[in-house]
């Protein structure tokens, strides 16, 4: 398999998707480190996986539901919900303008 390649533009795009701000030094470091990791994991191409289905998790449980009418013992009080926030207005979390 061909060697992985990431440009500065790719790194900036990934940083945007990850909601991270990187310094120019970090961008440079990230380029080489991510490529090194991507090169390593390419050894998986040595393994034939045609017709193999993927495993998402290993316990194979499906459709776990709560019973109807079960008491919600997990609910938090208003005080608990807001106890760790710095920016609150009345009964709302306050965020920057989106539009």
């Amino acid at each position: 398999m061909k060697k992985a390649k990431l440009s500065t533009k790719d790194i900036l795009h990934l940083a945007k998707l990850s909601n991270l701000k990187l310094t120019s030094q970090e961008i440079k470091k990230m380029e080489s480190q991510l490529v090194e990791t991507l090169d390593y994991v390419q050894n998986l191409s040595e393994i034939n996986t045609t017709k193999v289905s993927p495993t998402n998790h290993t316990v194979n449980l499906t459709n776990e539901y709560f019973e109807d009418g079960i008491k919600n013992i997990r609910g938090l009080s208003e005080q608990q919900v807001f106890q760790n926030t710095k920016v609150k207005k009345g009964k709302y979390f306050s965020v920057k303008k989106v539009l």
């Binding site: 909601n19 998790h57 776990e64 997990r74 608990q80």
Partner: protein, 462 residues
């Protein structure tokens, strides 16, 4: 009364017979923590007095929790500056179950930030030191829990493992570390890393203690849909009935392992042979592929799990993330991106299927599989910086079991020439924790783990 090095089973007996009071026992560990934590940095925070007083089989027992277990109104940081002031409004199921059994939170232990690492050096609150040699790392990410257990700053600790984070520090610190089957123990309230891999588990000084704690924390939890309804056996009772087993030795797991470590493992295998167990060579998929599968799956799940830290509802903003977390999120975002998903994430999940099938097939021939827990004994602090995925290499022997979700335990089998502990891991079939505990217990009974724990504790007197 001399308490130094006593197992929780022994301490509970003393409490029951009123030879020591609950308060005095708690104070004993607080005192030890104050004496030694400045040099070890195993604890991030300490409770001055027990916060709860429920009655149960663990009544009066202090337990240390890795700092990624939410503890109601006790600061929980996951080793990251993002959560440096986070006070959880609820406790993790594991914490709650142990508290309901009578245990009290002694304190919260240091860890690699977000559990990203295998040395506890990526903690935003400074590295934990290995009690055997303060210039060395304790392993990680549950390094604080393992170091606190080894230096007896706590009688037992709870850690969590995504791949190796219980077994590897247990091996490097010379204590017992158990990673249960995925789905055996609830992840509810544990700050998530790789959700399809994360497993909470005990770090203790004896196998019996591990069995006792596992029984209490295991079982279906309505708040974690991946916990299974399988019945939880009485591990303590089953431990008392030694069984003869067929042990599989996978040759590929010895590749790249330090010669001295290998020698110790072979010596341990001789002990097991002498106890009457059968040895059988088995062929398993090379761990070098497990490293890749794990790297991709874990980074992908990390990028999703860490997206929630937006500083709106809790925590500091995303500029507080350390290098390792940023690196992992970036890679995970890449492997989940359109155009790369099939080549990386899906491919990794497919190879994961093959690793699962590989184990299932092998467990038709043998009861357990053993290897060294780590390729080397504890490395010096600072060495991890040389490698972008140092942890993956240090955890390579732990990753196959993590990916497959099978249980495994690490036990001490002696010291190398630098007086550093060597760990042996026993991997079991799905939901067969009783098998690995049984074999580990037999080894402990035969060897007393060569007295290495009391040897270490001479360096940490009361």
């Amino acid at each position: 009364m001399k308490l130094l090095g006593k197992s929780i089973t022994e301490l509970l007996e003393l409490l029951k017979n009123k030879e020591i009071s609950e308060q005095d026992l708690f104070n004993y560990f607080v005192k030890r923590e104050k004496k030694y934590n400045s040099s070890l940095n195993a604890f991030l925070s300490l409770e001055e007095r027990p916060k709860q007083a429920k009655k149960g089989v663990l009544s009066g027992l202090p337990i240390a929790f890795k700092d990624n277990f939410c503890t109601k109104d006790i600061k929980t940081t996951a080793g990251s500056k993002i959560l440096e002031n986070f006070n959880p409004p609820y406790s993790a199921t594991v914490v709650e179950r142990l508290e309901n059994a009578g245990a009290a939170v002694l304190g919260k232990t240091n860890m690699d930030a977000w559990a990203h690492g295998s040395s506890t050096e990526t903690s935003d609150f400074g590295p934990t030191k290995n009690p055997w040699d303060l210039k060395r790392a304790p392993g990680g990410s549950s390094g604080g829990s393992a170091a606190a257990m080894a230096a007896y700053l706590t009688p037992a600790a709870i850690g969590s493992e995504t791949a190796g984070s219980i077994r590897q520090p247990a091996a490097w610190c010379g204590v017992v570390g158990l990673k249960p089957t995925y789905g055996r123990v609830s992840r509810y309230g544990v700050i998530a890393m790789g959700s399809s891999l994360d497993c909470p588990g005990p770090i203790t000084s004896t196998v019996e203690d591990a069995a006792l704690l596992l029984k209490l924390i295991a079982g279906k939890d309505q708040f974690d849909a991946t916990t299974t309804p399988n019945e939880v056996p009485d591990y303590t009772k089953l431990l008392k009935k030694p069984r003869k087993m067929t042990i599989g030795i996978p040759e590929d797991y010895f590749e790249g392992v330090d010669e001295e470590v290998k020698r110790k493992i072979f010596e341990a295998i001789e002990v097991l042979k002498k106890l009457g167990h059968g040895i059988k060579k088995v062929k398993l998929i090379s761990p070098k592929y497990a490293i890749s599968v794990y790297t991709i799956i874990q980074r992908s799940e990390v990028s999703s799990n860490l997206a929630r830290y937006d500083s709106i509802r809790f925590g500091n903003d995303r500029t507080h993330f350390g290098q390792e977390a940023k690196r992992r999120m970036m890679l995970g975002t890449y492997t989940l991106s359109h155009g790369y998903y099939d080549a990386f994430y899906k491919k990794a999940q497919q190879v994961r299927t093959l690793i699962v099938e590989d184990y299932k097939k092998t467990f038709k021939e043998v009861d357990v599989i053993i290897s060294s827990t780590t390729p080397t004994t504890a490395l010096k602090l600072g060495e991890f910086e040389k490698y972008p995925f140092f942890g993956e290499v240090m955890d390579m022997l732990n990753e196959p079991a993590a990916i497959a979700g099978v249980p495994a335990i690490s036990i001490p089998v002696g010291l190398d020439k630098n007086t550093l502990p060597v760990g042996l891991q026993i991997i079991g079939n799905y939901f067969k924790e009783e098998d690995i505990l049984n074999l580990a217990g037999q080894f402990e009974k035969e060897t007393g783990f060569f007295g290495i724990h009391s040897q270490l504790l001479k360096k940490y007197p009361d």
